[in-house]
Symmetry: none
Subunit: 303 residues, 5 copies
């Protein structure tokens, strides 16, 4: 067995073998199997931003089969999506490609005053569809924070009882946080820490900038190295229980391949466990998208 | 994806993707991955016959780690065992080696008057331990037949709802069946058919002899070719929904390697989906046991 | 058995033996075992204030193992933390170091308009993780007071039914309370009394100042001795059912060791049952932190 | 922490921290704390054989306080008893002396035709009373075997979910087993193995004789060393998952101190994890009973 | 408060205040209030033996009001009866006369082969009717023993959770017990012990004879004083947790007043907590019945 994987799993001692097994499955699938690193393809942008904004750049993306096929063929560790997209492909890919069922989602047509996604799938759905984990988005900073923390607490408990780990998208957002603050180093590190404290098995955050948002955090951050993304990633990883929880970083908005790969190199250098990149993959042509995913894996493989 | 596997899974259309995914996992693991064939290591003999009768020939077998390790290293599709043996290794092997949790078991110290195993594990245990299927033994012919059929009906339903397929050990036994009759062709074929009708996803029966047990079956079997084991296996496979359900054959009591391998060749020739062999593997020395399993896989691989 | 402990427990007659047993365990662990006094290490600041603000002064604190190890080695009665921090160490320390699972938590990125922590763990979690008590924060004075009182009422009931006592953090806060008022003698005494009335087994409040916040309380407090912290602690203890409920005091923001130890001497002199000090312990170097905890215990031991 | 204890607990990886914590508590209490060995005082004979047959030799034993006090003062790891005896002392000893609540019991006034104890306490009782484990008796060989296996399966699952391990008394008995057979080596080893397969965390069996009961077991036992009790204990320990489950041996009927201590030396030499001795302790005078328990601990301490 | 009552209640520490409160109510009502002794009027004979066999000697007994009135006016501690009799009077007497709702009953028209009463009332009924306790009959020795023990275990748990103590009628009966054996000293003492182990708060047994039923008990009883009823009662009380559970004795079949009162004197002398006498009271004329009850109280008052 892979030492890298078993060392990571040792940090989850106390979890039942079902949860451990699914984490091991995620870490033992695809090109990065056994390295302790993950590249995951997430496709919830259709739900979050609308279909054309998401799929017009590469219209094959309208088809749910495209993404599962892309994830499998490019060698991703897993594919994450909302209920409908998973349902459309599960019978064909279950048992080959690990799914992360995104159980809450938001759309950009409107909603509650405070940031809060809707529950759109269940733990039962995850089992029925042969998924290896559930995913959930929290918005620390939201006026509806309490509702979200309480919901995910119950979901994590239910998912664990049936052997499913939980991936937490932790995206600070709310009245008290500036736009720049959403990716500020103090805020991203805080978001990662909250996700770990809530019991997340895998934490997903955005790559942090060197901005410090909170006044009270200015002083403590004076001596935290933060000039390079690698240094900032290192601090986020440290904030995630000193690296004892898996932390992956989102790719964010579509960007140039070189820029993106450099970002990944920094994430890898800083000790991040991997990348979860959607638009940068599926908004490119099939060949380019797959190549980018493979290039990303190459970076983490050699980290 | 493997054509052989997908052709088999097409016979299970209508099952949910969780069940399909776990069947695909069983068919996509180990040396026989993608061939549509299975070699499974079952170790419930300690429970059924007592520890020394099971493990004295190769005392490493007293240790639950030995069997999981043997199954993994020899390249088996799965490892089947009672609760305790799975619990002892699950944290280490879950996500790598598919487990089949044997949820009922019997011992030879005594019990009810009619053949009937005790429920010794649950569907919840299977999820908690990261298993890919549950296994259950029915004794068609037992005076407690109805209790067993009704129990397995409920278990299959529960297991399905959480994405787990069911493997049915179908072993005719009871006051109305002679000792020879337990492996008679008509009885084994009947046992396979009953298991399929009960909703089993995978059926396990014993290799049939050319004996015909039931008087009423004598005439219909006059024209069924049954001279060779391959022919008889073919009939059993036919009886399992014309080959639309996976049928595997037990190895039975420990025997010479040549004899066993010839038996497997016949099973493969007759269209059997594989073999589930315990004592023949774990009662040999580690090297011989692993070699036998690998030889068995070689036979099915080339079938 | 310790007279001091049994005298305290006599005030909890009517509770079931499970609750009594866990209280006895808290009072029978560590350096202060048998004295009826408690020094508890709480580490929820990562969640409440963010990781760097909490752990940058002593970066070992990013690691959940550090705190459990510090609590055990310094001889604390118990270690209190949110779900994630407990989950990360429970398998290693359960059965040796009593845990208090903090089941609600707040962060400083934003939240509801009125002070109200989110439920972030459950009584089931406490049992699964081998905890000896649950902890909960109420904010008397909050516009969401009723929700909090009703939630804790149900939690205390559930926790008791499985043998777990409840520690209540009672921190007055809200539109009608001035900043100074939050630690005013009348307000802190009131907060302790409310916690007792809600059924708390152990009450945690802040050391009170000699400020009197409520106009209606000015007159009754004229004759309450309040010049020294010891006198004020004595009044708080009196307000906690005449000393029949265990009252411990928080250490508050990090401060000089001498200042802190003098505060503890006053608390001990006033009859407080102990101290729950986090930042003052874990924001120092390991050696200094452990020394401070041990010095604190020395004070209570000789009280 | 104790290496001996942590090595044992490593065999229970996959269990939740609550279960691990209670096992650690049992192994970290009393004179044998940290040695990996256990001496437990069980007092269910009043229920099983009647009060005078149990307590007339030392009438102090009629009083439930006597036994808890004896267990605590002699330095036992735990005290095991039926509901009533635990209820009578739990408020006084919970949190100091680990209790094992015996949740089924039989009496000798009559009952069902086949050996089967009655459920006399619940997992909820165990939590309410502050117990560290539940205990249950199975009678392999009984015609009511299935009912017992199914009941304990459910109880173990429930107990685990609230952090409680299970101790299984495994006493073969039934129409197919001769009186001598009940303590035959093959039968006792089998009983230990069944208990492990059912998911027991701690197995209690009787010291085996060199008799072999089952015809089919004669041959496999030819080469199993069995001349001394130590050799036979070694085989039972091997049958308990190669020593990966804790196995303790009952003291049986009251006997001479020298005879008993020699038996314990053999158990210790054979690798047994300890002894659970009732009548030999409480049917002696207080001083002699305590001395015998201490002598027993001395033997295991030096093993 | 009464020392005698509080000394008894101290043996029930660990019970919740609701249960304690109802026990205190039973011990603080009527002529014997505060003495620690009880005389209870039970009227279930109509159900158990038929109305005429029960009430023809004093036809006022057909009327449920008669018994409640008798119990109240004679100064009994409580009145015990089946559902219907309690329902008929509860509105009038609840709050004045403590009721013990007998929740199972048998009739003499026929029933199961083995002794086993039917559940005829519920814990909910007891609350609805303002009762202070529930009562239940077990038949140790019955082939349906397990069903009865398991039922009462659940009932005691439910009753406790709503603050109700349980009175257990423990009447050995079954194929293995001779007619004389049902009141043999060893059997009655055993029955009392079993009831205590099952968690009964108050135990009701029959006055024992000096007969010893069980062969294995002959020797242990050689040195137990048993010549007088007082001595035998003393042994039964000892068998009931050394007097730490309340034991009351039934009056049995109607008999002469002198004979009965002498029996009560012996019970009082032996340390029995009182008497529960039905037929001897209600089958006499109102004046005689009340006198007998008062005479009985006088005996216990002066004990």
């Amino acid at each position: 067995m892979s030492n890298a994987v078993e060392q990571i799993l040792a940090n989850y001692a106390g979890e039942n073998p079902g949860v451990i097994g699914n984490l091991r499955r995620l870490l033992s699938t695809g090109t990065l199997a056994g390295t302790g690193k993950l590249v995951i393809l997430p496709v919830d942008q259709g739900f979050e931003h609308g279909p054309a904004r998401s799929f017009a750049p590469n219209p094959k993306g309208y088809d749910p089969d495209y993404h599962a096929s892309l994830a499998l063929e490019a060698g991703c560790n897993a594919y994450a999506a909302p209920l409908g997209f998973i349902e459309a492909v599960a019978h064909k890919y279950a048992g080959k490609l690990p799914f992360i069922l995104k159980v809450n989602n938001s759309d950009s047509l409107g909603g509650p005053d405070e940031p809060c996604s809707a529950l759109t799938a269940s733990v039962e759905d995850a089992l029925r569809l042969g998924c290896s984990a559930i995913g959930y988005t929290i918005y620390p900073g939201s006026g509806l924070r309490n509702e979200q923390y309480e919901t995910i607490r119950a979901l994590i408990q239910d998912a664990r009882s049936v052997g499913l780990p939980t991936v937490l998208w932790s995206y600070p957002r709310g009245a008290g946080i500036s736009k720049n603050g959403e990716t500020a180093l103090d805020v991203v590190a805080y978001a990662a820490h909250i996700a770990c404290q809530l019991g997340a098995h895998i934490v997903k955050v955005k790559p942090p900038t060197d901005f410090i948002e909170q006044k009270e955090a200015q002083k403590p951050y004076e001596n935290v190295p933060k000039a390079t993304l690698a240094e900032r990633v290192q601090h986020v990883v440290q904030s995630a229980f000193n690296g004892k929880r898996i932390v992956i970083f989102s790719g964010g908005a579509a960007k140039g391949a070189n820029e993106l790969l450099e970002e990944l190199r920094q994430i890898a250098k800083g000790g991040g466990n991997g990348s979860i990149m959607g638009r940068n993959a599926f908004q490119r042509s099939p060949a380019e998208g797959a190549k980018l995913l493979r290039d990303a894996m190459e970076i983490f493989k050699n980290a």
